[in-house]
Symmetry: C2
Subunit: 357 residues, 2 copies
DNA sequence: GTGAAAGCGCTAACAT
DNA sequence: ATGTTAGCGCTTTCAC
């Protein structure tokens, strides 16, 4: 393949045209696979393309077309495994269909989320995959509606009256966690979480509570929730355990509805010198690679990232291609991995080390 | 702010022009801050903009300008905290200067890396931040050179003859780790890592080895390296420890040059029932949030993500603005966090639990 | 089959 | 101070 000289103007479609002795329109036709071009000419175009190292400018191309082949993705953050994998998956899927994914992170701010969305609208993106900071009622989704943008909502959302949604089946997964914990004999459990505004977090809480109480009506469920920020949660949790310890009625297990909650809980256990599962059991929503190499390994709910991503893209492209109909709401099943951080309450009470179970 | 009707064609600059009773050129001037416009007309333009909810189409705008205000970022992956934070930082910095960041992940493949770069070239990006999969000699960097693209190389690179580079000061950090480990009394240390092709990984190894041997000439340093993939490393490590255990001369500490190596090492320790720091000490290059909540907390080298990102962007924009001169090579200092996973060898030999130190 | 012409939405010269 | 003209690189009628 011929390499052009450095720092030279890139060849345009006209350069190819003159090299091939045809018009720009013909070049465009050849490159877009129109079959009505004389084979001989087509070959000459291809040769010229090869010779010059010509490549279509996708932006100029989109300029003239109706819709631009760009998909926007907005995630609350890029730092966690979950959203990192999500972006990675979405990128691959967009690419497969000849689209480019432009990703941006709202950094857990609804204001920023809306700003990004406005910028994507400026870009005339064909569609948007939005993982909203809070839920489907934020200003960002409102903006999308008001401007007739096409998009899918994922993750912190269960259903919407304007957009298709795809998320993990939080309630079912939480019910499974409840069954496991009740089965181990736990009758006093703390649920911690961030972002009670998110429909999914509420679903996680309710799914857990309903099943747990159904299986064990004498169950005591404490809840420590706070909106969005980690530091307040840390304080709340500390106070909670101090009070419970004073009253000598601390829970035997913790279920965290959010990855960050799991980290905060672990950190608090450390501070108090508690080890899982002897002193307390722990299950977290959201899995991470490290959870299986620590001692004990941390039990977790694994969200089906690939499934969420591929379903989101599928439904998005259907809309982009003009398919009508009412918004759909998909729930993808999770896997619950019961690892060493969960045991029976009081089985080896208050022992020191984080021994193997 | 006036909201336009859903599904309506977005207003163009001509719509604004006719509403304001001026020409499109004048609108453009007002919006780009040219001051030679009569204040009264400027106001009418602004009013029309407000009324119609007009926003400039950045692509059409870039089309006519010389350079496009797009920065490309290529990371080996999005799943790890390090690269996630990096993208997040870069995104913010690009945005600050009115540029849009388009990020893509090479998924640890040099072929994909080059393809992405070609696509970004098609997009006529103003510049690229490339975190190469292996090192500065890969096909991607070659492509950038051959096509006269402007860019910065970060992370797995120390210096280059064509591009500016910014990375963590691996050698200095490793030297510090060596001092700490030698100081604790370790005289037999295993270094594990992936990607020995990366200049940085070699720098990490050499920085460690040189300092360690200087401080303790009787030091024994074993090395288990393998290229790029995790699974072979797992096998290698297993075999290594089996052999060492049979010979009864296993190392008292492990230094991992890569996050994934740290995970593999921990996993192997688990398998063997070893606890840090009693059975073996562990330090890893690359910090992660979970490392401070596990028991024991894992000692780690913290890379200065923000500094790398901001220096990379700074130097990139200087090149974009046409600044000449030979390529620069920046090295940003790391912080070394000595946590509980490091102790003195044999201090509490072969005890069971992962007790607090 | 093919090319000329007309833009997509914008901005930079150049007139006025 | 403002409008006119001429594109950026491409695609798409629509004649020929």
């Amino acid at each position: 393949m011929a390499q052009q000289e450095s720092h030279q103007r890139r060849p345009s479609i006209h350069d190819v045209a003159s090299h091939a002795g045809v018009s720009a329109a013909t070049v465009s036709k050849v490159l877009s696979g129109v079959t009505t071009v004389k084979p001989e000419n087509a070959q000459r175009v291809l040769d010229a393309v090869e010779l010059l190292g010509y490549r279509v400018d996708p932006l100029a191309s989109d300029m003239r077309r109706a819709k631009r082949r760009i998909i926007g993705a907005i995630m609350p953050e890029f730092e966690s495994e979950f959203f990192g994998q999500m972006v990675s998956e979405l990128e691959g899927l967009a690419e497969q269909r000849g689209y480019t994914l432009v990703a941006a992170s709202s950094r857990e701010s609804e204001a920023r989320e809306k700003e990004i969305l406005a910028r994507m609208h400026d870009w005339r993106v064909a569609g948007v995959v939005l993982a909203p900071v809070r839920n489907e009622h934020g200003p960002a989704a409102g903006f999308m509606k008001a401007n007739g943008m096409t998009g899918v909502l994922i993750d912190r959302v269960l259903a919407d009256d304007a957009f298709d949604t795809v998320s993990a089946d939080s309630a079912a997964a939480s019910a499974e966690v409840a069954r496991a914990l009740v089965g181990e004999g736990h009758r006093h459990i703390l649920v911690v979480g961030l972002g009670q505004q998110a429909a999914t977090v509420r679903a996680r809480l309710e799914g857990f509570r309903n099943t747990a109480l159904e299986l064990a009506p004498d169950m005591r469920i404490d809840v420590v929730l706070c909106e969005s920020d980690v530091e307040p949660l840390r304080t709340l949790l500390r106070d909670y355990f101090s009070k419970r310890e004073a009253g000598n009625d601390r829970p035997t297990a913790v279920y965290s509805l959010f990855l960050k909650g799991t980290l905060v809980a672990l950190s608090e256990f450390r501070r108090r010198g508690w080890h899982c599962p002897n002193d307390i059991s722990l299950v977290g929503f959201d899995d991470a690679e490290w959870m299986q190499v620590t001692w004990p390994a941390i039990a977790a709910v694994v969200q089906p990232v690939r499934e969420i991503a591929s379903n989101a893209m599928e439904v998005l492209f259907r809309r982009i291609e003009g398919e009508g109909g009412p918004p759909t709401a998909r729930l993808e099943p999770c896997k619950v991995l019961m690892r060493e951080s969960v045991g029976s309450p009081g089985s080896v009470p208050h022992s020191g080390g984080g021994d193997r179970q």
